[in-house]
Amino acid sequence: MRRVVITGTGVVSPLGCGTEITWSRLIGGQNGASRVTAFDVSDIPAQIACSVPTDPSVEGAFNPDDWMEPKEQRKVDKFILFGVAAADMALKDAGWNPQSREDQIATGVMIGSGVGGLEGIVEAGYTLRDKGPRRVSPFFIPGRLINLISGQVSIRHGLRGPNHAVVTACSTGAHAIGDAARLIALGDAEVMVAGGAEAAICRIGLAGFAACKALSTAYNDTPERASRPYDRDRDGFVMGEGAAIVVLEELEHALARGANIIAEVSGYGLSGDAYHITAPSEDGDGAYRCMQMALKRAGITPAEIDYINAHGTSTMADTIELGAVERLVGEAADGISMSSTKSSIGHLLGAAGAMEAVFSALAIRDNVAPPTLNLDNPEVETTIDLVPKVARKRKIDVALSNSFGFGGTNASLVLKRFQHQ
């Protein structure tokens, strides 16, 4: 199959708007969690979140007007706005602005979301109930549909290739990148804009995930301590929001135009747990098979893995993933660093896998493993380096990024430092 490389990234995250500001703050150990003040949380058990900063006095804050005219913003949910902004950044970073019809047809989009426009659906529900169907906006549906990120990006940039969207809960971003890479590998596109976006920090989003007992509730007064993957005192994930988009490109296409190659997407694995709607199978079988498939596709042995960006949500499932990784890598465990960047930015749900793929690519670029914050007391012993609290400079040529979602849907990506040959 044809080789696929990453030539651009775009990020909107709880640490800021932009790939480099997010990355430098992540490596610096910053934490994006805070108490929710944008809406009433007094009656919700989880009262904290990792929100995208929008206060203009904060450096790197996200300003919606930079990406979309105010009158257009009214027509889309925030997850679409985040996705559009990150896609704009990624295409600019890649230096890819197709003008000819041939180049436009060769460029597709595959951007997904886990839950999409929850808040707008609730609001339209109120309108329907209180004012009747004649007051439901014509922009209600096109402003909430998950594939409308892909649609908006296609329209804005004239991208006429495959236009698709993934919806696999917290595996969405990883599946989008893996599937988009496969479309390129199979020759259906030369370039794909791929990733995920999420903006579910709203009353119904917090209430819904809290009802699933998935969210941290013990750290409402110390939000920065709440997301603590692998730590014995973890009690659930912290919801994040934002978007991460990559530009994927067929290798020869990238080389021919002199594009900056950040990393190669060399492996992709997928599996289903066939177990439970929200809990991973206790033996970690789905995660194990998923990682195994990704390694096989990449043609590498476990000993070649340098860094793993774990799914690591700060829930009980962390130890299941860790167990699956230990089973996968066996004696190679001592050479591997594995961290959960959700300790810094929370869980971006449908954007998480794409964000973590970007972080994995940058870990390769800069030879540094981002830290697992708040890891005071690991629940289980392991010879794998969990990169507690402080980023680690080390050689990273190969990174594995895991994403596991509700429904028992798993995705793993293998990224490699690009080398000719």
């Binding site: 005219e69 009158k71 257009e72 004649r134 906006s137 014509p138």
Partner: protein, 78 residues
């Protein structure tokens, strides 16, 4: 009449994000003010809300300019 005209123009300016001087009575929502078909549906909804009138779909189809809207609402209210 002028009160209705001002309120209609204000809604058009807000919803379509256009400059006030472009919103003349002869201005066509689609041809002059950059609206698409969904924008016009939303505009009609906003007029209904603002003026407490019901604009049936077949009547809405005839409201193509700012002046059309002012005329329709004025007669519906009188």
């Amino acid at each position: 009449m002028s009160d209705i005209a001002d309120r209609v123009k204000k809604i058009v300016i807000e919803h379509l994000g256009v400059d006030a001087e472009k919103v003349t009575e002869s201005a066509s929502f689609i041809d002059d003010l950059g609206a698409d078909s969904l924008d016009t549906v939303e505009l009609v909804m906003a007029f209904e809300e603002e003026f407490g009138v019901e604009i049936p779909d077949d009547a809405a189809d005839t409201i193509l300019t700012v002046g059309d809207a002012i005329k329709y609402i004025s007669s519906a209210q009188s």
